[in-house]
């Protein structure tokens, strides 16, 4: 078969498939998100979700942001940072200190949630910026090296942050972090609504990043760094970019966490917290956003359901991990990512069966998201 014949048969195979145009894909996804929100807020208003469950849902949201953001570094970039809790702490303290300086607490007490919104947005941006800055400071030296240096450096960073916060309670006479005693009376600005919104925004941003030229380059660095360099991909730049992006979202999660609990203690952000987040990513499947979301949800809700056995939580955790690694070493979802529009496309193609040649199908189904 000559080159031209091959080219022609290739494009014919592609034309047989029904494709949902991109604007429609976005519309479908927006509708699904809106639907989910109406269901949630409806249930909250109708009293099906009580305050206890609202709290759990907010924690689920925070953990989803933490897990998916760590997944950028671990799953997509292929590095192993062990200090995610450090970035969360930085973001949490930054936003808490800012919020305490605003009249947000009085506004919340007065029930004027709308007026808190500008402060909330500023707080989120501040925590993202501060966490991102720390990510940059650590990422630039660590990511220029090849190998596992990042794991060790971030491990150290997480501990440094925690120890620093524990031991420094004031800077130049201004009380900032209150050290080991904890930072209390933070305005409780986190609600189910803004938590949901930030989860959606975070997931969307991650999706948009990974489906652009930046995401392609990040995945290329993971798959083969030497080859990526040989085709002109600036590996250090993209590694730092992904790492900083991941740190920023961890900061946002920290911000939500501060606003949810109303008080912060440095002991929350111990090494175990970083490991907990890492477990969520590994359990869900490295490189799968859906996996991170599912396992963050399961690993938050399950301990709540099993309150009676809370003493055995860490035992169950490690057992679960061992079992997972034996039976599903790639995690719950592997690197599979769910796409509603792709599912619809599959259905449409199955129903109408237009020209999907048998040999063509095997090649086209396996592709990316």
């Amino acid at each position: 078969m000559s080159i031209k014949d091959k080219a022609a048969s290739g494009s014919e195979r592609l034309q047989g498939r029904i494709r949902i145009p991109t604007p429609l894909r976005y519309l479908i996804n927006s509708c699904l998100i809106a639907g989910l929100w109406f269901a949630l807020s409806g249930m909250a208003a109708g009293g099906i979700i009580n305050n206890y469950w609202k709290g759990i849902l907010i924690t689920v949201g925070i953990n989803i942001i933490l897990a998916t953001s760590l997944n950028i570094s671990v799953g997509y970039l292929g590095q192993l940072p062990l200090g995610h809790a450090g970035f969360m702490a930085v973001g949490a303290y930054a936003s808490a200190i800012y919020m305490k300086s605003t009249p947000a607490a009085a506004l919340i007490k007065a029930g004027d949630r709308g007026a808190v919104l500008p402060y909330l947005i500023t707080a989120v941006l501040i925590s993202a910026a501060v966490a991102g800055l720390f990510g940059l400071l650590i990422g630039i030296p660590a990511l220029r090296l090849k190998g596992d240096y990042l794991a060790i450096i971030t491990l150290g960073f997480g501990e440094i942050i925690r120890v620093t916060i524990t031991n420094i309670d004031s800077v130049l006479g201004f009380k900032f972090t209150y050290g080991a005693a904890g930072l209390a009376r933070i305005p409780k600005f986190t609600t189910l609504g803004n938590c949901f919104a930030l989860v959606v925004i975070s997931l969307t941003l991650i999706h948009m990043l990974m489906k652009s030229r930046f995401g392609r380059a990040i995945l290329a660095v993971r798959d083969n760094e030497i080859a990526a360099e040989s085709v002109g991909v600036d590996t250090t730049y993209y590694k730092t970019l992904a790492f900083v992006f991941s740190a920023m979202l961890a900061g946002v999660a920290g911000c939500l966490y501060a606003g949810y609990l109303g008080s912060l203690y440095p002991s929350t952000f111990k090494f175990m917290k970083s490991i907990e987040i890492l477990v969520m990513v590994v359990l869900g499947g490295m490189g799968s956003m859906l996996g991170s979301v599912v396992s963050a949800t399961v690993l938050t809700v399950l301990p709540e359901m099993l309150r009676a056995f809370s003493d055995y939580r860490m035992v169950a955790y490690s057992l679960l991990l061992v079992v997972m690694m034996i039976f599903r070493p790639t995690g719950l979802m592997g690197s599979y990512d769910f796409s509603m529009s792709r599912l619809l496309e599959k259905l449409l193609n199955a129903v109408f069966r237009r020209g999907a040649a048998a040999d063509g199908e095997a090649y086209t189904e396996e592709g990316g998201r």
Binding site: M1, A7, L209, S212, R213, L219, D223, G360
Partner: protein
């Protein structure tokens, strides 16, 4: 292929040879006394080679002669111990692998290095990274410029995949392709970076004779269509003798012969390197 007319070769001022049609043009690559030592071992030494802007050059030699090391020197995977490399007349001494790629060198690898978990199309698009300019904000918020650049990239990727008839597999995972297709995809990916010099490390390895002859056709086609120079390492002598304008033979890190395929076939030093010396000559 066999009755192909080979052009006469002329010496360059640097004592390198260049094709008649490339005379008077700036050579795309000029290596001057290039060398690298690993410990005490001179893996490559006094390597001189000039490649004209549209020349297909073969780099051959017995196993372990240092052919791939030359590629790694040209792409700065290794830093040369001695000598200099000029790319389009510019000294590359201070350039990194990434900068060299931007300056016009693209390569394939002897042991295939694809982005295995990415789709075939994305493999090619990654290589277009520095011809897509949209910033982070444009990409994150999906501004119109993003869509335009993405659809341009898609079209270009499909055109390039069309050279080898790979469009039908555009959505498949690169790692799931058959071996031959993976080799071809690596060439496509290298081409996507818009090189002026393409380095192919054993492009025909593991291919059957039919595939090899198709590959020969495609390599010539790439040269004619993109007007680029190609330097290839290959053990398949039919391919090398069939499509190369000039051939350099490497043995123990040194060039032992340079010239047209006819010159090389009759060169006693080459015959000796490949087949050994006759018994009578030894005594």
């Amino acid at each position: 292929m066999a009755d192909r007319q080979h052009g006469k070769l002329y010496p360059l001022p640097s004592q390198n040879m260049v094709l008649e049609r490339d005379l008077g043009k700036m050579p795309v690559l000029e290596c001057r006394r290039l060398g690298i030592n690993f410990g005490g071992l001179a893996a490559v030494s006094e390597f001189d080679l000039g490649i004209g802007p549209t020349e297909i050059t073969g780099l051959i030699g017995p196993n372990g002669a240092g052919k791939t090391t030359v590629f790694n020197l040209l792409t700065k995977v290794y830093e040369p111990t001695t000598g200099s490399i000029l790319l389009n007349g510019k000294d590359t001494a201070k350039m990194s692998t990434i900068e060299l790629n931007k300056a016009g060198i693209a390569r394939t690898f002897q042991n295939i290095r694809l982005f295995k978990n990415m789709s075939v199309e994305d493999n090619v698009k990654v290589a277009m990274d520095h011809s897509i300019h949209c910033g982070l904000g444009t990409a994150l918020f999906r501004l119109p410029r993003y869509w335009k650049e993405e659809s341009d990239a898609h079209e270009r990727a499909m055109d390039l995949l069309g050279i080898f008839g790979l469009q039908g597999m555009a959505n498949a995972k690169a790692g799931s392709l058959p071996y031959g297709a993976q080799r071809r995809l690596e060439i496509v990916r290298a081409l996507a970076t818009n090189p002026s010099l393409l380095l192919l490390d054993e492009p025909a390895a593991g291919m059957n004779p039919a595939e090899t002859s198709e590959l020969m056709e495609v390599i010539s086609h790439i040269r004619d269509e993109f007007q680029i120079a190609i330097l290839l390492i290959e053990h398949d002598m039919n391919l090398v003798m069939g499509i190369c304008d000039g051939i350099a033979v490497l043995n123990f890190g040194r060039i032992i012969a340079k010239g047209t395929p006819e010159d090389i076939q009759n060169n006693p030093a080459v015959i000796e390197a490949y087949l050994g010396r006759k018994k009578e000559a030894k005594s």
